[in-house]
Symmetry: C2
Subunit: 319 residues, 2 copies
DNA sequence: TTGTACGCGTTATCAG
DNA sequence: CTGATAACGCGTACAA
């Protein structure tokens, strides 16, 4: 492995000059530059990027923490992040965490250890305080509405949109409304539950705990939802499903079982994935790719702002 | 930022001893070890991992090249890779390339520059020769059947399975068979076209170029396929669709238009995604998560082998 | 069991 | 414009 020193020797200049050529610094004579360039040619020289990182204290690496990558929500978020990363010549270190907190902490560690310059946390398991502690080591951007304003974030207001969806269903005559989430833990789910409880409160509606169904992430979970529905004494007449994938799965199941939508069961999906358009599912449009892009940009520039992304209900034919 | 030297000073030992403690080396007395540990406690010391990397010449980082992450094929592959990475304490650097060759080359560069120890290339755009050149810098594993045996790979035989699917359809009476692919370029697609042509040859069937439909990656592309079908003078009676997502999209479209499957149109999907099970789509079962895991393991251990993953046809109700 | 001293490859400072 | 030289922070022969 030839290094900068070898190049210097070969081209009859100092290492500084070689470094300058390597980094396109000005103030280096044409001849010397040519000599160095030639030496680089001959030796199939490769800069050891770790040395650069050590010297500079930066890595051009951004960490991305997410639980899984194979659900549309996170896949699209990641797509948006990756797109911007590509544009800005940043590399992404993927922390596909699988909801394991210790791995999340590892990501924080890597920030501390300067292996990554910044970190996007798409879904958080650890305490905010812990994250707070780490912002001194690099930019951290969250994808949730943080109460602590000091943490940068790009988010959608899950409380608001969930409440709005509930109101919409209520206005259509539904009083028994169930909903599904990916995981019950997590700040988004808490917000949704809060909205749900406030909604029930507002209209003096009863709370049935089994109306909240968790672990609904994939298409096939639609089957699970319908099974659970069947096991209920009082079945809901409407469902808010936090993924169009799952909503589509429910549609298919209902079709099989001869349950007509929206007459017998109303469904609101989430994300406005292409599948929702094709199957005419009423859904919440969330610009996930854009959201991902904004996450990247905020982490990239180190802005310390809290940006809300607006979403809207798309009325189609399942309510 | 306190460093190893500060620690040494504080705990009254040498840097080597500190380093030994840090790396759990044997032969360090309990007292000194305790002293160092205490110093570490007090100073909220963090090892600068770049320095470690520079010194060691390794990074515990593995690159993963793939065009997109939001199709089931690549998402599941990535899932498998990420799972094994998690187990083996390896971090992944994601090269979501979007089919841009220059970015693929960048990944190769990073291998050269020692920023990553190894590289998994899930989908290749550049020349094999170029990859060949880079194996001296680290392990590279491909996800295709390479003719050059010197390149490590884990793969499925797309030729074989495609031929098998065609035979299956032929045996069911189909003679006009079309198929879809994600991209026409790419080695998998070439293999499929080869199989397709050989099949036609074998049974003396005519070749219609518009029977090969590309750019079919997402659910919503099912719509596109059906549109193209309608524009054909002689429509195929059967379709092989290289993604269950798309196959499902086709199912939905056909339902809308009153085309009955398999009577009027037979469909074979790919991947055996959950959606295929729910919609009873005959498909090719490809253990993508396992395949991803194997890719990781091979890259991790640096095995130079060519492992074939076997796949099988799952008969359901769309043929 | 411990410490010294050097190497890893590059960048940055500063004097010239 | 150029070149010494000192960091950067850690690992590791080698010597003791």
């Amino acid at each position: 492995m030839t290094n900068i020193k070898d190049l210097a020797k070969m081209s009859g200049v100092s290492v500084s000059t070689v470094s300058r050529v390597l980094n396109n610094h000005p103030y280096v004579s044409a001849e010397k530059k040519a000599a160095v360039l030639k030496a680089i040619e001959c030796t199939n020289y490769n800069r050891n990027i770790n040395a650069v990182h050590l010297s500079r204290g930066k890595t051009q690496l951004m960490g991305v923490v997410l639980p899984v990558t194979d659900t549309p929500y996170f896949a699209l978020l990641l797509k948006g992040i990756a797109k911007r990363a590509l544009e800005n010549d940043y590399k992404l270190v993927l922390f596909q965490i699988d909801y394991a907190e210790e791995k999340e902490i590892e990501a924080l560690q890597m920030l501390k250890q300067k292996q990554i310059d910044s970190l996007i946390i798409c879904s958080r398991k650890c305490e905010l305080a812990l994250i707070q502690e780490h912002i001194q080591y690099g930019t951290i951007v969250l994808c949730e509405k943080t109460t602590e304003k000091s943490l940068p974030s790009v988010f959608i207001d899950h409380y608001e949109i969930f409440f709005q969806a509930l109101e919409y269903l209520y206005q259509k005559g539904h009083k028994k409304i169930g909903y599904s989430v990916g995981r019950k833990t997590g700040s988004n789910s808490s917000l949704r539950e809060q909205a749900y409880r406030d909604f029930l409160e507002k209209y003096k509606l009863p709370f049935y705990s089994d109306y909240i169904m968790d672990d609904c992430l994939y298409f096939e979970d639609g089957e699970k939802v319908m099974q659970r529905l069947r096991s209920m004494d009082i079945q809901p007449t409407a469902l808010i499903i936090t993924s169009d994938q799952v909503a589509a799965g429910i549609m298919i199941e209902c079709q099989k079982e001869g349950i007509s939508i929206p007459e017998q069961l109303a469904v609101i999906g989430f994300n406005n994935e292409p599948i929702a358009k094709m199957m005419n599912i009423t859904t919440i449009d969330i610009p996930l790719v854009e959201l991902g892009g904004d996450l990247f940009l905020q982490a990239y520039h180190g802005y310390n702002s809290n940006k809300q992304i607006s979403v809207k209900l798309i009325e189609r034919e399942t309510v």
